[in-house]
């Protein structure tokens, strides 16, 4: 935990009695909030509690329905459209906000380009972008186009963009949701560097250990109400969780059931290679949960996308239930009982302009046909089921999916994937942006599915999640399998060793065990 700044320092940005409604629907109720220079102030709360809405108000993106904002000691009306950034209030939004066709350097400097005379100083922008990315220890090419980056790299670009600004307040809305431990650490380094310089940081995360590590104070929201603002020193992860969900949270992870090593192999991958990955081999049995760990861009997603028929392989073999599985498109893999849930919910998972129901049933629309026509009732029933099962919360149920809170979008996507009732399911960052309470539910759902005999692959950057759920863990590094861990070997330290290349697991029989 950082050195606690002097509590007597006046706050740089504060909100008083902020309320917000979207149309008729109230989302925030009379919230007081403030952040001091050099402080990390975390906001936590369940999905849909209003965290993102609060920070949108604190950065001028949304205007409050009532209440006032004070910045640098003066009452202000913040300008809209990110113009507050010029005043020193910089936001990393929960949803990636990058123009897909621009380069990395262009994206970092969008709206405040470096110029020499009337012209862009491309070299300066490229160099500075490179320098900023270097401080984050990522080697993303500043000239790369955004649409060639993985989600995690995009998130790093967003972070680079924010910390490169001359900010007095930096607001980070779940910046670590798609980052692995290592990347998160470099982010925290930067946060500490910034706070040391007197920058105020508002930090939102569902990862409670991060909150404990980074925050000086924590504000808890529940259903749009302010529950408390407490110094971190007075908190434990358990007490935070309790304040958040209003109940005791024990046993985040369900007990691991010993997998039956004799059940049949449902998915078998041998020597698979494709752009970005090579020589991947593993087996997946009924009832097994196989974790995939690794750093950003280590190729976990690429493996899953090849298996699901989303991209073509260049070599190797995949079999499902003993049958060769060269799916040329997703409908074939779905028909074979294999479902893949993307981690890019905004770009590949959900139609942001459509409602909940069409999104939920898009993958399995054929199931909702009655004599060839769509059966609205059956679709509505499916939505009902998914809402109950995954605790999807929308204050305004007819809202476009793009306006749901991030976590609820994720839950909807989970619902969409599970609608296809797959035998094999590959979940890429299944709990991205989901609050602890629901996480627990989802972990139990995953465990129950495995117990039913489904085979599950969990790709996750959250080390605890991989450890807590998996029977076995594949660790990937630079497009290859660095090792496979089993049983008691599955520890944070061991995974990190493989992921960072300190340790190599060579024996092939281990890989396919």
């Amino acid at each position: 935990m950082a050195e606690a700044p002097d509590a007597n320092v006046p706050s740089i940005l504060s909100a008083s009695r902020i309320s917000k409604s979207f149309g008729e629907i109230p989302v925030l109720f009379s919230i007081d909030f403030d952040v001091r220079p050099g402080e990390v102030h975390a906001i936590i709360g369940e999905n849909g509690a209003g965290k993102s809405t609060l920070i949108k108000i604190l950065s001028g993106i949304e205007q409050p329905t009532s209440g006032s904002i004070t910045y640098g000691g003066e009452k202000v009306v913040l300008p809209p459209n990110g113009e507050a950034a010029a005043m020193g209030i910089v936001v990393i939004h929960q949803e990636l906000l990058l123009a897909e066709h621009l380069s990395v350097a262009d994206s970092i400097f969008l709206g405040r380009e470096l110029k020499s005379g009337p012209f862009l100083d491309l070299k300066a922008m490229r160099d500075q972008a490179k320098a900023i990315l270097d401080t984050l220890h990522v080697s993303i090419d500043p000239d790369a186009r955004i649409n060639t980056l993985s989600v995690a790299d995009k998130q790093m670009v967003e972070i680079a963009k924010a910390i490169s600004r001359d900010a007095r307040v930096i607001i980070m809305d779940e910046p670590t949701a798609v980052l692995s431990v290592a990347e998160s650490r470099t982010l925290f380094e930067q946060v500490r560097r910034l706070t040391a310089k007197g920058v105020a940081v508002i930090f939102i995360s569902h990862k409670l250990d991060e909150i404990m590590e980074l925050a000086d104070r924590v504000t808890v929201l529940r259903d749009g109400q302010l529950i408390a603002t407490v110094g971190t020193e007075n908190l434990t992860p358990d007490s935070i969780a309790q304040m958040m969900v209003g109940r005791e949270l024990s046993n985040l992870y369900p007990p691991k059931r010993e997998p039956d090593v004799d059940t049949e192999v449902v998915l078998s991958v041998r020597g698979l290679s494709a752009p970005g990955i090579s020589d991947i081999s593993f087996d997946l049995r009924r009832g097994e949960i196989l974790g995939f760990a690794g750093l950003i861009g280590s190729g976990r997603t690429a493996v899953a996308e090849v298996i699901a028929g989303l991209s073509a392989k260049t070599g190797g073999e995949v079999t499902v239930n003993g049958e060769p599985a060269d799916y040329s498109d997703v409908s074939k893999s779905v028909a074979a009982g294999l479902a893949y849930m993307t981690k890019d919910r905004k770009g590949r998972g959900l139609l942001l302009n459509a409602g909940l129901q069409p999104n939920l049933t898009l993958l399995t629309l054929k199931k909702h046909l009655k004599m060839g026509f769509l059966d609205g009732r059956s679709e509505a029933q499916a939505l009902d089921r998914a809402v109950r099962r995954f605790d999807i919360r929308a204050r305004d149920p007819s809202v476009q999916v793009g306006k749901l809170s991030g976590g609820n979008q994720q839950k909807l996507m989970l619902g969409k994937t599970m609608e296809s009732d797959p035998e094999i399911v590959i979940m890429d960052e299944p709990t991205r942006g989901i609050d602890v309470g629901t996480k627990q539910q989802i972990y139990h759902i995953i465990a129950a599915l495995a117990a039913e005999g489904k085979a599950i692959i969990v790709i996750s950057s959250e080390m605890q999640e991989v450890i807590g759920l998996s029977h076995r863990v594949v660790v990937m590094r630079q497009g290859r399998m660095a090792g496979v861990l089993e049983g008691a070997e599955i520890t944070e330290a061991e995974i990190m060793r493989y992921a960072a290349g300190i340790k190599q697991g060579g024996e092939n029989e281990r890989l396919s065990a």
């Binding site: 139609l351 302009n353 993958l363 026509f373 939505l383 999807i392």
Partner: protein
């Protein structure tokens, strides 16, 4: 306190939004009708209303097809020359049939059958080049537009292809006769519009079109066969062109290089006036029908009066189209938020 999604809550809102969205173009049409009536009460005379409806059938039917293409994120510039080409081929085929076996109902049915095959084939070519050839739809259909226009000119030897008199007499009623007070073309239009509406709003295919137009990646990840659905939209468009041609040919009994000129622009305009977005992702068949009626009514109203110079017809048309769309957008816009929701 989980609120979740009560079944009922989503329904009324949806209906509501649908109403307002369709109300926009409808309002514009009503204003146009009032304008027409005030210029000349005969505008609402039975004969004129029948003419107007029958005429709007061509563009309307084509525009129903265009709604699917545009909803799925494509565009088809070739429909006008495709119509001319199909009309020409129908006439050539029917004339040849009359020569060899005399004029009968079968001649006409043969022509109709060929028209359907040609329409589907032409649509398939557009779809295939766009999806498998991975060429921008704009370029593909600009190309086929030139090709069909040239072919009809070539087959007509620069002149007009005319249907044989005998076949003409048999075919003529398809355009000119009525069934319970409405001419056949209007019935065809009504049926195509209804089927289109059902297809767009009540089948998986319509849902897929919207998904593809709104985010192709999401569609692909959702197990939708993007290329196939997209190709099908072009085939559907070809089919609609063919249907429009089937009721067009008996009207004038001829085809030439001047047939169907600029129909593509009118069809796209009808679709967009109707509230479908050019970028795709949202299709509204009802709006398209109203859009086609608006466009036809504008042309008709310009013929009702000659207070303004004929030279300015295009200007009046332009002003009315822009005003109609402005009205439509304005009428349900409740500030910025509604706009953003687009």
């Amino acid at each position: 306190m989980s609120v979740s999604v009560p079944d009922t809550a989503s329904k009324p809102h949806k209906g509501f939004r649908l109403d307002l969205k369709t109300a926009g173009p409808l309002l514009a049409l009503i204003l146009l009708i009032i304008l027409g009536y005030s210029l000349n009460p005969l505008f609402l005379g039975e004969g004129n209303v029948t003419n107007l409806l029958t005429r709007s059938a061509f563009i309307g039917i084509i525009a129903v097809g265009a709604t699917f293409v545009i909803t799925a994120g494509g565009i088809d510039l070739s429909v006008g020359s495709m119509a001319a080409f199909i009309a020409g081929m129908m006439i050539i085929i029917m004339n040849a049939a009359v020569d060899s076996m005399g004029a009968s109902i079968w001649t006409v049915l043969l022509g109709i059958g060929c028209s359907l095959i040609l329409g589907i084939g032409a649509g398939f070519i557009n779809g295939f080049l766009t999806t498998k050839g991975k060429i921008e739809a704009f370029i593909v259909t600009l190309g086929t537009m030139g090709i069909y226009r040239s072919l009809i000119t070539y087959f007509a030897d620069g002149g007009t292809l005319s249907l044989n008199r005998g076949a003409r007499e048999i075919y003529r009623p398809v355009y000119y006769d009525s069934f319970i007070g409405l001419p056949y073309p209007v019935w065809v239009f009504i049926i195509v519009a209804l089927l289109g509406w059902v297809l767009m709003n009540r089948t998986a295919f319509g849902r897929y079109c919207m998904a593809i137009g709104s985010n192709e990646q999401v569609a692909r990840y959702s197990a939708i066969k993007v290329d196939r659905v997209r190709t099908l939209t072009y085939i559907l468009q070809g089919l609609c062109v063919s249907l429009a041609t089937i009721i067009y040919v008996p009207r004038l009994g001829s085809a030439s290089s001047a047939t169907g000129v600029l129909w593509e622009l009118e069809a796209i305009a009808a679709v967009i006036i109707g509230g479908t977005m050019l970028k795709g992702g949202y299709g509204r068949i009802g709006g398209t029908v109203i859009g086609a009626l608006i466009l036809t009514a504008i042309g008709n109203i310009l013929n009702l009066t000659d207070i303004i110079s004929n030279y300015l017809n295009g200007a009046v048309q332009g002003v009315i189209i822009v005003a109609a769309v402005y009205l439509q957008r304005g009428s349900f816009r409740t500030g910025r938020r509604a706009k953003k929701a687009e």
